[in-house]
Symmetry: C2
C-alpha cells in the first residue's frame, strides 16, 4: 500500500463490507461489477468506494469496472485473510456456543483451536467435536501453539480478567462481545502519566456490541434519510 | 441539531461508543471528563470527539470538560434512547437465545416483545418467560402492538425471507446477524431502473457480522500501529 498511515479505520470496515458483497456476487455467478454497484450495496457513494480502494493500488479499469474474483482475491490479501488464524473462544455459554457454530467461519482460514470456560459443568463437555477446557489451562495451551485471536463471550463482570488472560497468553487481537470497555493494564509512575503494560502493546480490541447496533438503529429510525447519505466524502 | 444532513454515519457509531464510556465512568462514580479522556478510551483523537459532539450542540465548558451524567443524558436523548422501543427476535437457536438473554438490554428501554421461529420443536417453548411463536403469526402480532425493530438470528438461507416478513409487519429497523447482505425488494419496470418496493422505503438494516470483526482484527494485527491513528480528522 502506498501510504498506510493515512488509511482511516473506517476504510478497513468498508473493505470488509465490499469483500462480503463480492463473495455474494461470485456465488451468484456474476463476474464483473462497478464502484456504482458496490456503493449501492454498501450504502456509500461510488466516490467513497474508489477512494477506499485507491489506498491499496489500482484494481479496476476505467469505464470497465472490476473483475469480481480478482478484486475479491486482492481484498482477501489486503485484509490478511489469505493465511490461517488460530482463534480461541473464552466463555462457552449460549453466545460462545453460537459463535463456535457460526456459519461462514469455515470459508476463511479462521480455526477455532480452543474453547475455554471456568464453569465445572461445562469444562470437559464437547462443542462441535471439541472439548471445553478450563481457562487456567490457556497459557499452557498457548505455549504449545500460537493463539492469535480470542473471542470474549464471558459475562461482563469477568470480561476484563478474561481479556488479561488472553493477552498474557500472547493474543494480539480480541473480539469482545461483553458490553463493557476493556482496558489495557497500566501501572502508575510517581508524578507521571500511567504507563501501559508491555503485554498490551500492539493489542487490538474490537467490540461487538449488540446494543450498539440497536442504538444506531434507534437514531436512524428517528432521523430517516440520514442513513443513505455518505457525507464523509464531502469533507 | 444544527445541520443533520452533514452528520456522517461514523459519528453516530462513535456517539454510541462515547455513551458507553460515560456510563462506565458514571458507574465508577466519576463526575467529570474531557474530550482527551473520551478520545483515549474511544481510540480516536480529541479533535474528533469535539467535532462529533459539535454536530448536536455545545455540551462542555472550555477548559472544564464535560459533566458525565449531563453528557450521558444528552447522548441518550440524541440517539433516541430516552423512549421505549419494541423489539422482536426472529430465530431462536443458540444465537437468538443468547440475544434474548443479553445482559445490559434492560438498562435501556428496549423491550423484547416477541420471539419467533419456524421450528415446531421450538414454537411453544419458553425463553426468558416468553413463549416462542410461529413466524406466521408475526403480522397479526404486529397489528396488536407496534414492532419497531427486529433482530434476524435465522440461518443465512432464511435471512432474506425473514427480513421481508419483518418489513411486511411494519418494522423499520433490522439488526441482521446472518452473514448475508439483505436486499430491499424491488420490482422491474420495462426500460427503467428497478424500483424499491414501498414497504422497504425508510427501512434501515444494520449488520452485526462476527466475521467482519475477525477480518478487521486480521488486518490490524498484520498492520500494527494503524489502529491508533485517527486520520479522518486530517481530511
Amino acid at each position: 500500500m502506498s501510504n498506510p498511515s493515512n488509511i482511516p479505520n473506517a476504510t478497513i470496515s468498508r473493505l470488509v463490507t465490499y469483500l462480503r458483497i463480492l463473495e455474494k456476487l461470485e456465488a451468484q455467478g456474476i463476474n464483473r461489477t462497478s464502484s456504482n454497484h458496490l456503493a449501492e450495496w454498501a450504502q456509500v457513494s461510488a466516490f467513497q468506494v474508489r477512494k477506499d480502494l485507491a489506498y491499496f493500488g489500482r484494481f479496476g479499469t476505467r469505464g470497465m469496472g472490476y473483475t469480481v474474483n480478482v478484486l475479491k482475491r486482492e481484498l482477501r490479501r489486503i485484509l490478511g485473510l489469505n493465511r490461517p488464524w488460530n482463534v480461541v473462544i473464552l466463555g462457552m455459554g449460549r453466545l460462545g456456543q453460537a459463535l463456535a457454530n457460526y456459519p461462514g467461519a469455515s470459508d476463511y482460514e479462521f480455526s477455532f483451536v480452543g474453547l475455554f470456560d471456568v464453569d465445572p459443568d461445562k469444562v470437559g463437555t464437547q462443542v462441535r467435536g471439541m472439548t471445553i477446557q478450563h481457562l487456567e489451562g490457556l497459557s499452557e495451551f498457548a505455549r504449545q501453539q500460537p493463539v492469535e485471536m480470542g473471542f470474549l463471550a464471558v459475562p461482563p463482570e469477568r470480561a476484563q480478567d478474561a481479556a488479561q488472560a488472553l493477552v498474557d497468553a500472547g493474543v494480539k487481537g480480541i473480539l469482545n462481545f461483553a458490553p463493557v470497555v476493556i482496558q489495557p493494564r497500566t501501572f502508575e509512575r510517581p508524578g507521571r502519566e500511567p504507563e501501559i503494560a508491555d503485554e498490551w502493546r500492539g493489542v487490538i480490541v474490537e467490540n461487538v456490541d449488540f446494543l450498539a447496533g440497536m442504538k444506531r438503529l434507534a437514531f436512524f429510525i428517528l432521523n430517516p434519510g440520514l442513513r443513505d447519505l455518505d457525507t464523509e466524502v464531502e469533507v
